[in-house]
């Protein structure tokens, strides 16, 4: 049923972050949301899982309006959603295996053995097999990020939200994570929203693009459409030419 964001408004004090942002991630596709730093991409993603409540507008996930759900209904919905945090947000008092198992303990009826197997499988998928007994402080930034992905995919969610999954990673790890995102979409039919600044990665994983600018959707379309887009703000962003964006501002 996908994820539909309709006319989303959100302000923090006097600062307007989202000013009527609308976009849709259709069932089974990967939508990449582009936008400058502080443009409200992460804020948008947090609305999808109900971590933030909109000032107005709504987010529909799996046919349910997130902001109208009762607490228990929200937890039910979150069982279907995996969230990859920008800085991994691993629980630093736990080992890597315990981190990955957290969602499985809560979101599934699996027994201990099945959980341990699934944890191993997920760690293998992100190339961290053998790291299960390490704590987050013993991992590099890239390893932590991959561990965050392993935790998010462990429950085999229907929806996956990636907050800058490849930022700060080496090219090999980036490519590996891109492949993982593609695999989630192609093989498991997961609907994904990816927030990224990394244009190489964005073009590798995107079925469609949306660009968030000044709190609104500046562009929505396929990779071919964004390549052909004449809007100077969009062109300036994807080509890394701030002079084009400044002219428009």
């Amino acid at each position: 049923m996908g994820i539909v964001i309709r006319d989303l408004h959100k302000s923090f004090g006097p600062k307007v972050v989202l000013d009527g942002f609308s976009v849709e991630a259709r069932d089974g596709e990967t939508l990449v949301i582009l936008g400058g730093s502080g443009s409200g991409k992460s804020v948008t993603l947090k609305h999808v899982v109900g971590l933030l409540t909109p000032d107005s507008g709504e987010v529909e996930v799996d046919g349910q309006i997130v902001s109208t759900l009762a607490r228990e209904e929200l937890f039910e919905l979150r069982r279907k959603v995996g969230y990859v945090f920008q800085f991994a947000a691993l629980f630093d008092s736990m080992t890597l295996a315990e981190n990955v198992a957290m969602g499985l303990r809560r979101k599934s009826d699996m027994d201990r053995e099945a959980i341990a197997e699934r944890v191993e499988e997920c760690l293998r998928l992100v190339d961290l097999d053998g790291y299960g007994e390490r704590t987050p402080s013993e991992l590099s930034g890239g390893q932590r990020k991959r561990a965050g992905i392993a935790r998010a995919i462990a429950t085999k969610p229907q929806y996956l939200l990636y907050d800058e999954p490849t930022t700060g990673l080496d090219p090999v790890t980036r490519a590996m994570i891109d492949q993982l995102i593609l695999r989630m979409s192609d093989e498991l039919g997961v609907t994904g929203i990816v927030i990224t600044h990394d244009m190489d990665s964005a073009f590798r994983v995107a079925d469609r693009f949306a660009m968030l600018h000044n709190g609104r959707c500046r562009f929505e379309g396929t990779p071919d459409e964004i390549r052909a887009c004449e809007d100077p703000v969009v062109r300036g962003f994807i080509e890394g030419r701030p002079e084009l964006m400044e002219k428009e501002s």
Partner: protein
């Protein structure tokens, strides 16, 4: 944050904590480790304080009473003071520094590193996961630690009396039991239980409301210790007014 707003928000967190207690499957397995952290790990500092408090009480009582009041009143003073006041209050203040600061720093760090958001996305109610086991551990373990501290303080006073003062063991025990009322123990435990609740809930409150980065965590930790220490002293007076 004004005092009224802060008290209101803390009250709301407390109400949410009571509600979240129904998620037994979330907090139950975390309770024992938290009891160990709040209680067992606090025993050394609490007993250290109690030991020297007991010694000083006995010496000061002897200094005050000599020539005016029979020395077996040293036992009365050590017993009553440790039980009714210094045992619970000094343990409470020590634990507000050790436990309250620890809780505020830990939860505050989890807040600023999005670990609390991560709990939410993994369908764990954060209050059930973080607050309920800590507050329950405080309510259960602070009275236990306080009871041990009272015991150690009295024994320290007793040993001081028979070793350093011109008193027999019988004199001290006679004084200790002379005005003893079972209610004294109840009074001490009521105070300790309320202190356990205050220390842990205020630590959780400031942790949850942490903003910013490392500086924010530092602020939360300091405020948790200061506010819970003040709250302990206010509660101490409250119980004296209400129960004595």
């Amino acid at each position: 944050m004004t005092l009224a707003a802060g008290v209101g928000q803390w009250g709301r967190l407390t109400a949410e904590t009571v509600q979240a207690a129904r998620h037994v499957d979330v907090w139950l397995r975390l309770l024992i480790p938290q009891m160990a952290r709040v209680g067992v790990d606090s025993v050394p500092i609490a007993l250290f304080i109690a030991l020297f408090t007991g010694i000083v009480l006995a010496l000061q009582a002897s200094y005050t009473f000599t020539g005016a009041i029979p020395l077996y009143f040293v036992g009365v003073l050590v017993g009553k003071t440790m039980m009714l006041e210094l045992g619970p209050v000094l343990t409470g203040l020590a634990l507000s520094g050790r436990v309250g600061a620890n809780i505020a720093a830990e939860i505050g760090t989890m807040r600023v590193t999005e670990q609390i958001d991560a709990l939410e996305t993994l369908a764990y109610p954060p209050i059930a996961y973080l607050v309920v086991p800590r507050v329950l551990a405080g309510i259960i373990m602070v009275p236990v630690v306080t009871a041990l501290a009272i015991g150690v303080g009295i024994v320290a006073g007793w040993i001081t009396a028979i070793q350093l003062l011109d008193m027999s063991s019988a004199d001290f025990v006679n004084g200790l039991t002379l005005f003893f009322l079972p209610f004294d123990v109840t009074f001490a435990m009521i105070k300790a239980t309320s202190f356990g609740f205050i220390i842990t809930s205020i630590g959780c409150f400031f942790g949850f409301n942490t903003q910013g980065g490392a500086e924010g965590v530092g602020h939360s930790t300091t405020r948790a210790v200061v506010v819970s220490s003040m709250a302990i002293l206010v509660l101490d007076a409250f119980w004296a007014l209400v129960l004595l």
